[in-house]
């Protein structure tokens, strides 16, 4: 072995580098919850990439799912919720795609998402779950299989491992070695990372390793991680320091409901014609972004 001190590998990547390995048909997990902490800069870039046939695991999704469906990226969607709370009880593009059959939707309860991700993280074929026993889950989502447990003979549901090719996650900060820290609730994000072959973590700020060491209890790390810097990159969703942009969400929902040219125009302006994250921020405007800071 060489006795010279080795140099630690940088995990910093551009959006293009981080998303390059996501091929047609990949299984992609998306972090965040409802209107908070979705890695939207990564999602917009993925939607613009032209990738197709994705299986998307978005436990509690919304506009992230909408953009990927509208861009034609999604074959199968696994989620417990796709909507924007009071702004849209049901996300409109998702709703249309599931009703017309262009996207295969697999209904999962939030606890099923957690069970499936844990199974993948632990290299198990499935994880048992009681939630959904006596309901229609096993009927409408045949991946969820009812069984009698071998210990006590109770009726349970086997949730298959949700192994992800890549997890796209947001955290407020990370260092250049892939140590990420969030100052928000974290949702299912660290678990999504554990269930994935590799993780791309989008951050507002890249900080020094010394900065990370000040509060190691908050650090997440995974096997293979790339760090992409994208300030304000959860927009129009919230981060720990930014509230959600209700007006922009309403605009997106309106375009989604109308579909056709209105949706195309939204996608063109905010996804396809914004060549990078800075262009997107310019399109949103500094005044709007500033107004959302807590």
């Amino acid at each position: 072995m060489s006795l010279a001190a080795g140099e630690r590998t940088s995990a910093l990547a551009t959006v293009e580098e981080a998303l390059a390995g996501i091929g047609d048909g990949a299984t992609v997990g998306i972090g965040g919850a409802v209107t908070a902490a979705h890695p939207m800069a990564l999602v917009r870039a993925l939607a613009a990439s032209g990738v197709t046939g994705l299986t998307v695991v978005a436990p509690t999704g919304g506009l992230d799912v909408e953009l990927l469906i509208a861009a034609g990226c999604v074959d199968t969607l696994i989620a417990a919720y796709v909507g924007m709370e009071g702004a849209a009880g049901v996300a409109p593009v998702y709703r249309r795609a599931v009703e017309d059959g262009s996207v295969t939707f697999k209904d999962y309860d939030e606890a099923h998402c957690i069970a499936g991700l844990r199974a993948a993280a632990q290299k198990l074929p499935f994880m048992p779950c009681r939630a959904g026993v006596g309901t229609s889950y096993t009927e409408i989502t045949p991946d969820l299989v009812g069984f009698a447990d071998p210990v006590a003979g109770q009726k349970l549901i086997a949730v298959p491992a949700l192994e992800l090719d890549v997890a796209l996650i947001f955290a407020e900060t990370a260092d250049e070695y892939g140590n990420a820290q969030t100052t928000s609730a974290g949702h299912m994000d660290s678990l999504l990372g554990a269930a994935a072959k590799r993780v791309v973590v989008q951050v507002d700020r890249v900080v020094s390793n010394d900065e990370i060491r000040k509060d190691p209890l908050r650090t997440w790390y995974w096997k293979q991680t790339q760090v992409v810097r994208a300030p304000f990159g959860t927009h129009p969703y919230s981060s720990a320091t930014m509230v959600a942009d209700v007006d922009h969400l309403k605009e997106a929902i309106g375009a989604g409901r109308e579909g056709g040219e209105a949706l195309d125009a939204y996608m063109k302006r905010f996804v396809h014609d914004a060549p990078d994250h800075d262009s997107y921020l310019e399109e949103i405007g500094i005044r709007r972004i500033a107004s959302l800071q807590i």
């Binding site: 599931v98 309860d109 939030e110 991700l117 006596g134 660290s190």
Partner: protein, 255 residues
């Protein structure tokens, strides 16, 4: 207190009165301002041991603490205050916590089953798709009890049998399957308060002031159990309304 209570205020008071001594943590979902108000109202008065989960914050409001502000979204980062934080991937590791929650749905049936999925087209697709079951199956399976809040009461919503079951309310089925939770406590609609008889069929507990039995029969897609002379829902007192408006629902989301 001059103004009559709105439907939302009535719901909030009815819920707040019903929480039990042994209830310890109570989670409020999105778009349920009356549930939020009920939780806060009980928490600042008769139920000082309650932890109220509003958004990501876990709060106890005893000792005169003010109600946390209302934000446009449940997962607003400013909701992350209180004595603990609700983390989605860990919250179900203790399935008895929260032990009370609130739910609505697209359809509710005679047996108390709820459908939040949507209406299938009969050919493997969907006539109407909802947003997904969220965590309704988990919560309804495990929690000590839950309240069903239906903003509409008509024969398309109150049906004989739901097209699909997201939350199993049926008492007999719950027992047969050994579900640990306590099931639905009662149903609130704009017409009245409903619960379930010994066999698990829905029955009238009370009708709101000015609502007739015929009106309810007509608006319900199945034969509803009736007491001979159903009582009128006990209206909020002046004291309850004053507390609700001045200390709990200061933003007047229920007005």
């Amino acid at each position: 207190m001059s103004a009559d209570p709105t439907m939302g205020e009535l719901f909030a008071v009815l819920l707040a009165r019903d929480f039990r001594e042994e209830d310890r943590s109570l989670q409020v979902g999105a778009n349920l301002p009356m549930a939020r108000a009920a939780a806060v109202m009980a928490s600042v008065t008769s139920r000082p041991d309650l932890r109220v989960i509003l958004g990501m914050g876990v709060n106890n409001l005893s000792g005169g603490r003010p109600a946390p502000p209302v934000y446009p979204f449940l997962f607003d980062p400013r909701s992350m205050v209180g004595e603990a934080v609700m983390v989605q991937e860990r919250v179900f590791d203790d399935v008895a916590r929260p032990d009370v929650f609130f739910v609505g749905g697209l359809q509710l049936d005679r047996r108390g089953n709820l459908n939040l999925f949507g209406i299938p087209d009969g050919e493997g697709g969907w006539k109407l798709r909802g947003p997904g079951g969220v965590a309704l199956a988990t919560m309804s399976t495990n929690c000590a009890g839950y309240y069903i809040i239906m903003p509409r009461h008509d024969a398309r919503v109150f049906v004989e049998k739901v097209a699909l079951i997201t939350a199993l309310g049926d008492r007999t089925e719950r027992e047969r399957l050994g579900l640990p939770g306590g099931g639905p406590r009662f149903v609130l609609s704009p017409l009245g308060v409903f619960d379930f008889d010994e066999s698990g069929d829905m029955q009238v507990r009370s009708l709101h002031a000015g609502v007739s039995a015929d009106q309810v029969r007509e608006a319900t897609g199945f034969e509803l159990g009736f007491f001979n002379d159903p009582p009128t829902t006990e209206a909020p007192s002046d004291e309850e309304l004053t507390l609700l408006r001045e200390r709990v629902d200061v933003e007047r989301t229920l007005a």
